[in-house]
Symmetry: C2
Subunit: 440 residues, 2 copies
């Protein structure tokens, strides 16, 4: 690249929004990414590091020395420093903390103390407070004095002298009401509030339900400690849904598109290992019936269909159940009805798809030598096995998430493996078992 081009590129980067620079960095292979990263103005490093994905952030941080890292992080708000800190080398974090004043250091430490999926980890400290006994006019003058409001501000937080939250004053109301009115008369005194220990996903649901833009976070004594904003909630929701998708495929950590082969492979091993074990167990079920298969090899060709249809059907059930758990829609009163419905569907589907496969199996093997077994009987076994395995699938799809949930794990992660394991093993067992008993 020529010097002139580099200068042009630098200029373009300077004019781009940090999120757009982050997007460019995501799409570039490693060496190009680091080249571009060098061209970004140092004072913007911090905000861009916040925008990139975990995997890309790691590569950028590796390319920076400690001095650069401290400078980049020091330019951020305390809640942002806390977001970045877990990815920074330990000595950088220590140096950084030393460079902060006491109040800020306390904020960073408190942010870091919360679980990463809690409101405390997502909140910021960027809010404007007002007393309830002043007039709106005074409030307006106060804001003019401040000269700027924090991003996303749609309401002021009304607090007592001791920091206790009394209510919120939406900017809308501040604007349209008589300036002579008192804050106490105009404020909303039953605002939606959160506690730092609340689960982030519950807070996200509340933001969706009540169409919030910002909300106060209070401690156990109702004292204002922070603020939650919709942009952070939006990022959280997106990150969660992405990580659900990636986890469902067994990608444990976020992988950027150009992670090294070695690192990416390791990232996928746990999943492949689990699947190897379950496949091995299913294979041993088949192994039990090797004698039957030697006599009637058609069984080997038909058995993957019984297992596969069971797996698909079971995962339809488990997806619905997992979603029901996530949304908190499933309770003691309705769970039996749900199970009854899923069993009903499986019986209906078993009749439909079992019959179809019974006929197909008959047609396929009508003219084949089956060593004394009639194609009609083979079709009947196929139909019965499909029917039974779809019922197994409904039970597995229903109970797998429930059991995983009972053990305190996220059903979204393990339900598919567990359901498929059951439908595969049972599918082989039912089909080969019926065939052994009735055909051979």
């Amino acid at each position: 690249v020529h010097k002139q081009n580099l200068a042009e590129l630098t200029h373009k980067l300077d004019e781009m929004h940090p999120a757009d620079v982050a997007y460019v960095l995501e799409a570039l292979p490693l060496e190009d990414r680091l080249l571009v990263w060098d061209l970004v103005k140092a004072e913007r490093d911090g905000e861009i590091l916040l925008e990139v994905s975990d995997a890309v952030r790691e590569t950028l941080i590796e390319a920076m020395n400690n001095r650069e890292l401290v400078a980049a992080a020091a330019s951020l708000d305390t809640d942002e420093i806390a977001d970045l800190a877990p990815d920074l080398p330990k000595d950088v974090v220590q140096e950084l903390m030393k460079s902060l004043d006491h109040a800020k250091r306390l904020q960073v430490e408190s942010s870091l103390s919360y679980d990463e999926d809690s409101v405390g980890a997502l909140m910021d400290y960027d809010f404007v407070t007002i007393r309830c006994d002043v007039t709106l006019e005074t409030g307006l003058r106060y804001l003019r004095m401040l000269g700027d409001l924090p991003p996303q501000t749609d309401k002021l937080f009304v607090v007592e002298r001791d920091g206790r939250l009394l209510g919120t004053l939406p900017l809308k109301r501040l604007l349209v009401h008589d300036p002579e009115a008192h804050v106490a008369a105009v404020m909303s005194d039953e605002p939606v509030t959160f506690h730092p220990s609340d689960e982030a996903s519950d807070a996200a649901q509340a933001f969706e339900r009540y169409d919030l833009v910002t909300a106060p976070v209070v401690d156990a004594k109702e004292r204002l400690v922070g603020r939650l904003t919709v942009d952070v909630v939006l990022d959280y929701i997106r990150a969660e849904s992405e990580s659900d998708l990636l986890q469902a495929a067994g990608l444990r950590e976020e992988e950027d598109l150009f992670t090294t082969v070695w690192k990416a492979a390791k990232n996928r091993w746990l999943w492949l290992g689990i699947n190897l074990v379950t496949a091995l167990i299913a294979s041993r079920v088949v192994g039990l019936f090797e004698g039957s298969i030697e006599k009637l090899a058609a069984l080997a060709a038909l058995m993957p269909i019984v297992a596969g249809m069971g797996g698909n059907s079971g995962n339809q059930t488990s997806t619905l159940v997992v979603r029901g758990f996530a949304l908190g829609l499933i309770n003691k009163d309705n769970s039996k009805r749900l199970l009854a419905k899923e069993l009903g569907i499986s019986v209906l589907n078993g009749a439909v798809w079992g019959s179809i496969m019974g006929v197909v199996a008959y047609l396929l093997y009508r003219d084949a030598p089956l060593g004394g077994v009639t194609a009609m009987a083979l079709g009947a076994v196929m139909a019965a096995a499909m029917m039974l395995n779809l019922i197994v699938a409904a039970l597995a799809g229903y109970f797998a998430p429930a059991v995983i949930d009972r053990f305190g794990r996220d059903p979204a992660f393990g339900s598919a493996v567990l359901t498929t394991f059951i439908t595969d093993s049972m599918g082989f067992f039912i089909f080969l078992g019926l065939a052994t008993v009735f055909l051979l």
Copy 2:
């Protein structure tokens, strides 16, 4: 239920936020749901219908007569009427349209004319405009005169007399700047804007990137036509991620937890049908080798492992590629590197997991009678087949989304089926083929 209890329940429902009533309705079986629905005040029906899921909405609408439906819908904003209209009976929509004044009817019709995944379908008409040549003081007086601002309002839209958008005036700036200043001097003159035909998912990405709360929507001539708000974007993102999860399991339409068995079963048939066809083809691949399986039934027990590991590995690749497409991160320049990386991983994983399975297969069949075949040779074939099928899996996981994308379909939907189909069929073919050539 006693009368007194009903009265209490009615009272509680009246005090609940519409989104909370919707949540209660979602969790109730059909008859209880309709009972509660009857207790909800008629004037709140409209807003609650907007909050429930599609499947539950259908059940509630079925229980209402035309007069009730028209009244419920007429209480809503025009953009909300347009959201509801597709679910209402045709004669209700006609009657409803007749009851609206000309301007509103035009708004509903225009909202309905946009594709459901476009900005036009998501925008509302609830914005406050201001001229650029007035002072902030005039603006403040104007707002006080309005008495209330639309929900989510964080900025006013600055327009010319002909409706052309000049910029936006964030309420923040209106509040902190000198009231004598002119709007033109204070406004932001390069706001993020959207067109009605823009894709909703692109707009959602822009809201995330630039932390927007509201944004103006303009037509081709830069005239203001609507407004996009973060609460709608949030709902859109959530609905999309839910529908991705459901679709991945082959649940075509949203199903509520208590949909009737018959309807739910039909909802799942397309997917089961597609999977039956692919399983049947894979089964025919096995059918080709029935002679080999008769001689060595161990092949039938081992073949699902080769197929299964390929499927899992292929879906890891395809998940990453689908995500790369969705985020627009994959382009001509980097696609080859991505493919090379995935192939590299598959060779590494093939070596690791192939060796493990080779050894396991040897140990399993060491003492078994294999009709002249050595367990060592069986293990070697197993290892080679795993290795080859993982390479096939990387290719399938990479090209399946690319091909589906080329055909203009959403790769998120079909990639898993296509990838699994290829890894199953090829897994059986490679393993049984190698065994037939080298062992028998």
